[in-house]
Symmetry: C2
Subunit: 135 residues, 2 copies
Amino acid sequence: MSRLEIDVLEANAAFYRAFADHDAKAMEALWSEAAPVACVHPGWDVIEGRDEVLRSWRAILASPSAPAIRCRQAAARVLGDVAYVLCREDLPGAHLAATNVFVRERGTWRMVHHQATPIAPGQEQPARRPAGPVN
Amino acid sequence: MSRLEIDVLEANAAFYRAFADHDAKAMEALWSEAAPVACVHPGWDVIEGRDEVLRSWRAILASPSAPAIRCRQAAARVLGDVAYVLCREDLPGAHLAATNVFVRERGTWRMVHHQATPIAPGQEQPARRPAGPVN
């Protein structure tokens, strides 16, 4: 795994930490201030613009019913100064497939887009593990 | 709108043409052969790899129950040689929010990722039209 991929995965992990910790300030710091941002929460329409996106996050994080969330199977795709992470989100009683898009700004990966799609019950695929050496 | 944005929106329109026309060959030609590709169909888990992604599209396009689809409110975000399009998908009785990611390969925008998330009934926002001149 390249240094850039590790950095992107760290930015992705920081996003899920802010989400799980209900930390609106950390969430705000993650999102790009230079590039246009957007977000698709499950069941919502597209949200465009930093103010609107951050308002949606503050509402979600402030809600006492905000679910415990855990990210797994994160895989980064680095395309120059843009990268996206594919991962699964585990919530109590629900699994989602998520895409998180980042841009590299002065060496730091900042989020520009998040989209999560609920996975229908029974459609979840088993994790693919890299094949180990044959003994 | 920049030339690059227009080109990306044309690639996005070609994707929805292939989808609506059940044209598996056109769909195949749209997807990158150089970059890793992935896809999240509504309700499905993440699909990774060109063969798997194209297999899923062939199955969808071959199905007699494949829905009539129409893309609207497409907006392109160009980030160097990467771009993504946010749009809504209208299907009979359903609306989805979609993200389509493209990379520019030898001057042509090729798809690397598609994700669609169903919008819950009543959550659809009215289209934002650019404000016209004040008369």
